[in-house]
Symmetry: D3
Subunit: 138 residues, 6 copies
Amino acid sequence: MIYITRRENFNAAHKLYNPKWSEEQNNKVFGKCANPNWHGHNYILYVTVKGKVNLETGYSVNLKELSAIIRERITDKLDHKNLNLDVPFLKELMPSTENVAIAIWKELKPFVNALECQLHCIKLHETENNYVEYFGEE
Amino acid sequence: MIYITRRENFNAAHKLYNPKWSEEQNNKVFGKCANPNWHGHNYILYVTVKGKVNLETGYSVNLKELSAIIRERITDKLDHKNLNLDVPFLKELMPSTENVAIAIWKELKPFVNALECQLHCIKLHETENNYVEYFGEE
Amino acid sequence: MIYITRRENFNAAHKLYNPKWSEEQNNKVFGKCANPNWHGHNYILYVTVKGKVNLETGYSVNLKELSAIIRERITDKLDHKNLNLDVPFLKELMPSTENVAIAIWKELKPFVNALECQLHCIKLHETENNYVEYFGEE
Amino acid sequence: MIYITRRENFNAAHKLYNPKWSEEQNNKVFGKCANPNWHGHNYILYVTVKGKVNLETGYSVNLKELSAIIRERITDKLDHKNLNLDVPFLKELMPSTENVAIAIWKELKPFVNALECQLHCIKLHETENNYVEYFGEE
Amino acid sequence: MIYITRRENFNAAHKLYNPKWSEEQNNKVFGKCANPNWHGHNYILYVTVKGKVNLETGYSVNLKELSAIIRERITDKLDHKNLNLDVPFLKELMPSTENVAIAIWKELKPFVNALECQLHCIKLHETENNYVEYFGEE
Amino acid sequence: MIYITRRENFNAAHKLYNPKWSEEQNNKVFGKCANPNWHGHNYILYVTVKGKVNLETGYSVNLKELSAIIRERITDKLDHKNLNLDVPFLKELMPSTENVAIAIWKELKPFVNALECQLHCIKLHETENNYVEYFGEE
């Protein structure tokens, strides 16, 4: 059993703003992340899958296929987009790093399973100082 | 004569879109950078100044002072902002990496001169694959 | 349940020297790390906490608050200090990377608990080639 | 109980090619990695061991000793070599990142055990976008 | 006048071996780089061009076009190749980092000129510890 | 004519303190860098030399030789040392990044000249946010 990780990235705009709250409350909790005109990040996404090594190929998963799936299902839909407005699978979500990582997990899981390996971790860097990891735990 | 560089950063939204052009023309030239709902980046800014070493301090410039000036004059005005909408010194400019770097040079130059050293280079990374350098050349 | 990590850093001096041993024994075990006049490092600290995502904010923890706690309780006390001489919570300890990481865990744990999440890991880089991770295991 | 990691590296050539398959099949599965004249990588190897902290030294393991073992047993045998042709402990193996990591684990384990700590993880980066982790799981 | 840089990369095998010399002489000068079965690297290529900023676009050069040219003319021909055997524009050359950088300059120059900017620098990293820069100086 | 750069590093302690000044004045200018018990850094040193490419070797300089000279003359004398107390060629100098870089230039120049190339630049990183470059300019 081995773990293999593919790095991909996307550059996107977002803001953190709870419309049920006053502007004062939003600024207190979200600070400059609540700027109404948006801000953005170079997100770095690490997708880790686990599986057994195939004796014929030496591969646990073919990274070309894994990369193609991540791009088709995730990063092509997030890159150069607005995470609050443009992405069907993020609709109705506060686009915090936590929520984006969990949404990516849910979106990607069926396609990874089809590769005969298991999705193990979604790691998402918002900046070089902040990242989250989601392992599918409830 | 020695060159000293301070790294700072800001996270911002922008889009590249020329309102005098058709949407087709914008998409042809700017591609996904023209997304109307914006996208964004973690920009990394390197400010290089040149000067003589002070015998009493061993400093060519006091980096605490240089950093404070860069933050007050530049990155506090750009961080978590929309480069098309929110920044007085970028008004009327296409916020390409080139134009943002040149605008930072113009904005910063008088304050660096007041430190008894010379502004040498503004280097601005938009992504890990793209950066510009401006040396004040016409 | 999601894991979120904040990176902070501090620059400090230290030496590894056991006063109960001969100089020869110290040099054999600690090599150049035993230099009596000290040496130093740019330490990089990663603090990982785990928690549930708050539905109102999308946050598992507010990183501004976590960062403020790490700075107040840890890095402000370590930055530009001598780890053998200047830090109350390291007193009587050999300041190896292992011991510093464990001491940071103990110091930080009550303050992280107060944020309604759990401290998961202290990861401390001494150089780009060496780092330790502590998960609170006895 | 603490985890400590040492980074080492090696630069090597390899190709991925299954001699039992047609050239067409090799190209379909391995793509440009099947180039008959080889290609190569700057591999980065992270070896993580776990152990208890020694009260006299503050060390869980002496990293000088761990580094010497990794170099003698692993990286001196892989650096500036051809992974398909030159390395006794990789003979008969498809030198995928997965297989190289597992072979390093097997080769290194007895020597790490002799240091009174346990081998925890072999992490091997083939590029900045791809890496595997092996924890000794069957 | 502004300088803009695009990063691309390629993974390749090579060896440094002068067929006019004895094996002893080759080993003395090139050391392990002379391994007859090759070794390899993850090369990182930075291409810097200089030009004026276009008022309509804010671009000095369209990086999509520059990137496409670098890939078509250079990295597609080097990636997953053997630099001694597989690359027409490196034929008859010792594939040292210096010679590869100069050959890339010569190969790329006419295509960059066609973009109405000037090739300024080819910077080529062989490892994280070694790189060369070529500015077209005789 | 080509430029080639070798990266080396050293970990050292220092403080910035002018004994001719009051403690108040030292704290005002140097801030926490004046801590009497020292602090330290992981310094990264980039040495750039320029020269012509040798037709027999493809080298402008043999990096094994350049690296050996940098280690023997510079980093072996700085690594795990106190820059204020332990280093003959830094005696009587305020060990600011500027002064250390200039002293390295002076120390290294005759040995680089003996390699039939020219010393072009000493670049010294004190942290990931601060570095200086010295080109031998008066």
